[in-house]
């Protein structure tokens, strides 16, 4: 099924049709990567654009996001594996950021890759994040921002982490829609790395597992 066709079902709120598409696509791990990167991520971007251009309502936008979240979680569940004892990763949304589907998909794919992921969801306060890093000692920290106006918050969070942990700061990777408009923005926020999608992030972070 083409993306535009999936979009039609998504906008119509046909969650079971969307789930069927997802399950057909995500029969194995490679398929799950494809579903997340080639279907759910671009459809979320498209949903945002449709709202901005006045073609769908806020309600429809929320419904579509909830449906994509439903599809992702149901397609991930059969492929989930026990990861206790694996290398630790920590993923969170920057303070005030309420869009968590992107980093959630990254957490799913990292778990499938053998990482033991702590996913902290939306709007993680910087001070709490520092405490979590101290306690959980992750191999890397992932920070997500969907809205461009949250870029400053990402920088403040990274500054707080580096200020508190100094040389013990783990590598910091950033991602999310906020970074899409300018390929150099991740440097402005003080991150070590940037990945344009969850699948690319998994590949890039593999080197930190050992």
């Amino acid at each position: 099924m083409k993306l535009e066709e999936y979009m039609d079902h998504l906008i119509a709120g046909e969650d079971e049709v969307c789930l069927t598409v997802g399950k057909e696509r995500a029969g194995d791990l490679a398929g799950l990567h494809g579903l997340y990167v080639d279907v759910i991520q671009p459809s979320q971007y498209r949903v945002g654009e449709l709202w901005e251009s006045g073609k769908i309502s806020v309600a429809t936008e929320h419904l579509a996001t909830a449906t994509n979240s439903y599809v992702a979680s149901n397609c991930y569940a059969p492929l989930a594996r026990a990861t206790t004892g694996g290398p630790k990763a920590l993923i969170a949304c920057t303070p005030e950021e309420m869009h968590e589907l992107g980093p959630r998909m990254l957490a799913d794919l990292l778990e499938c890759d053998g990482w033991d992921v702590d996913f902290y969801g939306t709007s993680m306060p910087a001070r709490e994040l520092v405490g979590a890093i101290r306690e959980r000692k992750p191999r890397f920290v992932g920070i997500s921002a969907a809205l461009v106006m949250h870029l400053g918050s990402v920088k403040r969070t990274i500054t707080a982490i580096r200020g508190a942990l100094g040389d013990d700061t783990p590598p910091i990777v950033v991602g999310g829609n906020a970074f899409r408009g300018d390929g150099e923005l991740w440097k402005q926020v003080g991150a070590d790395m940037y990945a344009a999608d969850a699948s690319a992030a998994v590949e890039m972070l593999r080197g930190f597992k050992e």
Binding site: E52, S53, G54, K55, V148, M149, H150, L151, G152, S153, K155, R156, G181, D182, L185, Q188, V189
Partner: protein, 133 residues
């Protein structure tokens, strides 16, 4: 003593600036028209819009660039067209001037005033460039 930054200043003064600019804009005709079209009260709209601007300005001043407002401006143009909203470049510039006057009037350090003036000039140019004449 820790040096105060624009980021600290905007964090500490966010609510006071928002309330003051909201008072300046009360009764603005364009704001009233947009509020009517969006079916929300004028004060709710002003609060949303000003919150959006202040967050963008603070983000930029934290980054030390105009990256946030440059992207926000492009978004605003698309949003205006998509939702057929009745505001123009003059209204956007007037709002930015109101916010900037309020910020400038509260800054106590000459260095911060200079930093903000340089930023204000760049964003002013972004606004002029973004809106087709």
């Amino acid at each position: 003593m820790t040096k105060t930054t624009m980021d600290d200043f905007l964090k500490d003064n966010h609510d006071a600036i928002l309330v003051a600019v909201q008072a300046r804009m009360r009764g603005d005709e364009t704001m009233g028209r947009v509020a009517t079209q969006r079916e929300i009260s004028e004060s709710d709209l002003a609060s949303q819009v000003l919150g959006f601007w202040l967050q963008g300005i603070r983000s930029d001043l934290t980054l030390g660039s105009t990256a946030t407002m440059a992207q926000n401006m492009q978004w605003l143009i698309g949003f205006r067209a998509g939702h057929d909203l009745p505001f123009d470049d003059a209204m956007v510039m007037s709002m930015f001037d109101d916010i900037s006057d309020e910020i400038d009037g509260r800054l106590e350090s000459e260095a911060l005033r200079e930093e903000y003036a340089a930023y204000r000039e760049k964003v002013g140019k972004l606004i002029v460039d973004a809106f087709p004449q």
